[in-house]
């Protein structure tokens, strides 16, 4: 899925500044940054907060790191203006929603201002373990089904791009968040060099070059994509592909080497689907192959190297 | 910082001669632990080895030093360590590994008085039996006892040659007095000495067996990284290198590692004889004691006593046939050694019925003097 699926997004023609650049008025500007632990949500909000502070605004930033470890849901509220009281954004009040992960973006859509809210999303999908609702062979995942086109219909302005993949092409998939910053930079009326400076402050020293490139790519993307160019058949209507969680098709069912099995029972005890048992000779057998999800736990825990799941290719 | 000077005659301490001999033989790895009176070997190696891109390491203990040289040797380097009695005791288990798994290595044991901490700075020759039987079980081992600094140099080279060719640990056994003796040594530039290398296995075919040996009973050595991927173990192993308890295979293995020294004894054995042909009496001595014996024999000749000397240079395996041919017809043998009587037990095994065997032993941390030996030769002659 390449860079595609823009929308009725705020457009920039040659001479106009980036899209309806949000004006900071008496009411604060609300930016909500969401994603999955490890993606750089906090970095994005720090860049933004620092930048706003340098522009002379009062800034309040409220973040929840969710699960401390990689993989949990993370979000950060950034509010800035002449005066800011509450640190959190009420429902339907976000001017910009930056989503580093597709389903996390969907989760927070209701926070966007219905009439003017701008949704900036990375279409990359990080499927959480609990989305694997059914461990059955070939079972679908519980991941969000909404396509980009579905979302475009719901929000005022939408930029959706596979930033993670583009950043990976640049050399580091983690710079996807900076690409979104580049896109966001077109929606806020701050000088581009101030953005660049703020990014330099927070990007890891070794990754500054890649982050700067990602930032420019984000800006360029907004500038070069016009709603008129959008082919609705190219990506926009397609369901977002679900990242493979299971590898069912890639392995064959476990094969037990009876000569090596020492009857320790560990595979039987740890099989999550209870499809292994000991036969009359106390040797492990796969008695319910139809229940096997090819999770490979038995293979990895067999102390006797007696269970193999053969890779098909 | 002492300088090694190629192909010239230099004054060297015995321990330094041992280090330079090792280098001349191609030794490029030394691991050791400080112990009097052998530390000068390690010190000299720490100077010389880095200059020739070798490795010197002082390990945490004697056991680790022995382990490290075996590791280096298994990796393909010629390696040695040096120690004295107490440290030699600590090395014994790994020395047994070298004998069993047939890993070439050279160990210098500069003998001091014992038992226990004993007399660290005084000479003794009391490790004759430890050198032979120190490690457990039946095992092959070669022990060389030089009697001068030039001989330490040359015999250290030979020790490496034997170890590499026969895949057997070789012990350089000499006492503190020789270790700290300074003599003139002609140090080679490499052109005039013979260097032997181990036999490397070349073809890692599917049928390759790392411990299969031909008629010479010496298996080719496997160098890691050459594609063999074999197993080396201290457990009794079959020709494929893996452990076995099959009595037939065990016996075959044991015979091979013991017999390989027997069939190569021509290469291993060395000894010196002085005036033995028409002698009535024989002095058996080695190392520093042999030097005293030489003078005593000369003095005895002046007194008309027909006495010769047999000096084993290879102490183990003992040069039995040579000794038996020399002892034949002798009326008495004096075994002079700086211990309570160790080599004499071996000599007695080969004693003809009519021959008297006496020991001259000194266990006070002093060397045996020519006068002591001469007196005993006279006593031996007077008894007739």
């Amino acid at each position: 899925m390449a860079e595609s699926m823009p929308s009725r997004a705020p457009r920039r023609t040659d001479k106009t500044p980036p899209a309806p650049a949000i004006q900071v008025a008496e009411k604060p500007v609300n930016v909500l940054v969401v994603g999955v632990g490890g993606q750089g949500v906090i970095m994005v909000s720090k860049v933004l907060a620092t930048l706003c502070q340098r522009q002379g605004y009062q800034v309040k930033q409220s973040e929840v790191h969710g699960m401390a470890k990689r993989g949990g849901s993370v979000f950060s509220h950034v509010r800035f203006g002449e005066t800011v009281y509450s640190p959190t954004i009420p429902l339907g009040e976000a001017d910009v929603l930056v989503a580093l992960e597709w389903a996390e973006g969907l989760r927070w859509l209701s926070y966007l201002k219905p009439e003017t809210g701008i949704f900036i999303a990375d279409t990359q999908q990080i499927v959480p373990p609990f989305a694997c609702r059914n461990r059955q062979h070939g079972a679908g995942s519980g991941y969000a089904r909404e396509t980009v086109a579905d979302v475009i219909a719901q929000v005022a302005n939408c930029y959706a791009i596979n930033a993670g993949q583009i950043a990976q092409e640049l050399g580091n998939s983690k710079a996807g968040n900076t690409m979104l910053l580049g896109m966001m930079s077109t929606t806020l009326d701050f000088p581009a060099d101030d953005w660049r400076e703020a990014i330099r402050m927070f990007a890891p020293p070794k990754a500054i070059d890649i982050n700067m490139q990602a930032f420019e790519r984000g800006r360029d993307w907004v500038e070069t994509h016009d709603p008129a160019d959008l082919d609705p058949n190219q990506g926009g209507d397609q369901p977002a592909p679900i990242v493979e969680v299971m590898h069912e098709a890639e392995f064959e069912l476990p094969v037990i080497n009876r000569a090596w099995c020492k009857r320790c029972d560990i595979c039987v005890k740890f099989c999550p689907e209870r499809c292994l048992s000991l036969d009359e000779e106390q040797i492990a057998v796969l008695h319910a192959p139809e229940k096997c999800t090819l999770c490979r736990i038995c293979e990895r825990l067999c102390p006797d190297f007696a269970i193999d799941l053969k890779y098909k290719h | 910082m002492p300088d090694s000077a190629p192909s010239e005659t230099v004054s060297l301490q015995g321990n330094h001669a041992c280090a330079l001999g090792a280098l001349a033989a191609g030794c490029r790895f030394f691991a050791g632990y400080p112990i009097t009176p052998s530390s000068e070997i390690a010190e000299r190696m720490s100077v010389e080895l880095p200059r020739v891109d070798g490795v010197f390491i002082q390990m945490e203990d004697e056991i680790a030093s022995m382990g490290a040289i075996l590791g280096a040797s298994m990796g393909g380097m010629k390696a040695m360590t040096a120690t004295s009695g107490p440290g030699f005791s600590l090395k014994q288990e790994n020395l047994g590994y070298a004998a069993g798994a047939e890993i070439p290595c050279v160990i210098a044991n500069v003998m001091r008085g014992g038992p226990s901490t004993g007399l660290p700075t005084r000479p003794a020759q009391a490790d004759v039996m430890q050198a032979r039987w120190g490690t457990h079980g039946d095992h092959p081992i070669v022990v060389i006892t030089p009697d001068s600094v030039p001989e330490i140099y040359m015999q250290t080279i030979r020790a490496f040659n034997l170890s590499e060719q026969l895949r057997v640990p070789v012990v350089m056994l000499y006492d503190e007095a020789l270790g700290h003796l300074i003599e003139q040594v002609r140090v080679s530039d490499g052109g005039d000495i013979e260097i032997a290398n181990r036999k490397w296995a070349a073809d890692p075919g599917p049928e390759f067996s790392p411990y299969a040996a031909g008629e010479d009973l010496i298996p080719e050595m496997v160098r890691p990284g050459d594609g063999f991927r074999t197993h080396t173990t201290g457990l009794t192993h079959a020709e494929n290198g893996f452990p076995t308890q099959d009595p037939d295979v065990v016996e075959q293995y044991m015979h091979r590692i013991l017999d390989k020294l027997e069939i190569h004894k021509g290469l291993i054995e060395s000894y010196e004889t002085i005036d033995t042909n028409d002698a009535d009496y024989l002095v058996v001595a080695f190392g520093i004691t042999a030097r005293a014996a030489r003078r005593a024999i000369k003095q005895a000749h002046e007194q008309g006593i027909r006495v010769g000397m047999f000096r084993p240079i290879t102490l183990w395996p003992f040069p039995v046939e040579a000794f038996e041919s020399i002892i034949d017809g002798k009326r008495g043998v004096l075994v002079a050694e700086m211990n309570a009587g160790q080599l004499i037990t071996e000599i007695e095994r080969y004693r003809p019925a009519e021959c008297r065997i006496e020991g001259l032993n000194r266990i006070d941390g002093e060397t045996i003097t020519p006068r002591q030996i001469l007196n005993r030769i006279q006593e031996l002659a007077d008894r007739e």
Partner: protein
């Protein structure tokens, strides 16, 4: 799951003709060996360059089953042998497989000095709390009150924390994992192998047949679950200690540093000497 993981075939690394191996049913050592070979496979290390050095005991026997250059040496000394081997052959990837008795009791001195030197060796210590091969005697890591054949009234000796020891002695990388968490164990071992200095990885193995039976610890499945229950998750790091879980162990990478690697600093010193003294 990476492509390498999918294609990892354990049988590429085993001397199949020696199987089934000699370990007792349910012995965690086999799981640890798989994780180690899995890590090696992911790092794509050439088998000809792999050198395994192991000592004596159940752990020491594992080397023989690996299709690589394997050295089964004397009790407690694999680190000493490995030091010589690695210094003589820097091109080899030297891995030591050892056990709690081999590494911490008879070989304790070698461990602390291997950590101090920081030579590029990976040491995998399989901790099953017992001398299994000799019939189940107490080891330096046997837990409190456990019965062994030499603690018939329960063990009263304090337990050695091998990782704390290795860290204090300066090991370049220190890690610990239980066998049940096989992918994590593989990752910890992989980081150990990739670390340029000395890596010490303690694997919490289980001895079902000897230690487990003597102490009524149940089947190997039950033993590894008990182990899992005693693992302290990261987020409890600063939480109040839980007094009812006396055997809590920390897992993962526990320490790492970038002290100079021994062989490299040795070479640097020699090069400096050669420059200073004009030796070519």
């Amino acid at each position: 799951m990476s492509e390498a993981d999918k294609q990892f075939n354990i049988h590429d690394y085993l001397r199949e003709y020696l199987f089934p191996h000699f370990l007792c049913p349910g012995c965690g050592h086999g799981i640890a060996l798989r994780a180690l070979l899995w890590a090696i496979d992911e790092l794509d290390i050439d088998k000809d360059r792999l050198a395994f050095v192991s000592g004596i005991g159940c752990s020491g026997r594992l080397g023989a089953y690996i299709d690589a250059n394997t050295f089964h040496v004397t009790h407690g000394r694999p680190l000493a042998f490995a030091t010589g081997l690695k210094l003589a052959r820097p091109d080899l990837e030297v891995i030591v497989i050892t056990g709690d008795g081999d590494c911490l009791a008879i070989g304790g001195n070698h461990l602390i000095h291997a950590c101090r030197r920081n030579l590029n060796i990976t040491c995998m210590m399989l901790n099953n709390e017992v001398y299994g091969m000799t019939g189940g005697q107490v080891s330096p890591t046997t837990s409190d009150d456990r019965f062994t054949t030499t603690t018939p009234y329960g063990n009263h000796e304090p337990v050695f924390d091998a990782c704390a020891l290795a860290e204090a002695a300066g090991a370049g990388l220190v890690g610990r994992e239980i066998t049940l968490q096989t992918p994590s164990l593989k990752d910890v071992l992989k980081q150990g192998l990739a670390h340029p200095g000395f890596s010490f990885i303690e694997v919490m193995s289980d001895c079902t047949e000897v230690f487990g039976r003597k102490n009524d610890l149940g089947s190997s499945a039950e033993m590894v679950l008990t182990q899992k229950a005693s693992v302290r998750p990261d987020f409890l790091e600063n939480a109040v200690d839980q007094p009812f879980r006396p055997h809590q162990i920390k897992t993962g990478i526990l320490a790492s540093n970038d002290r100079p690697e021994y062989a490299e600093s040795y070479r640097n010193h020699i090069d400096a000497m050669k420059r200073d003294h004009g030796h070519a």
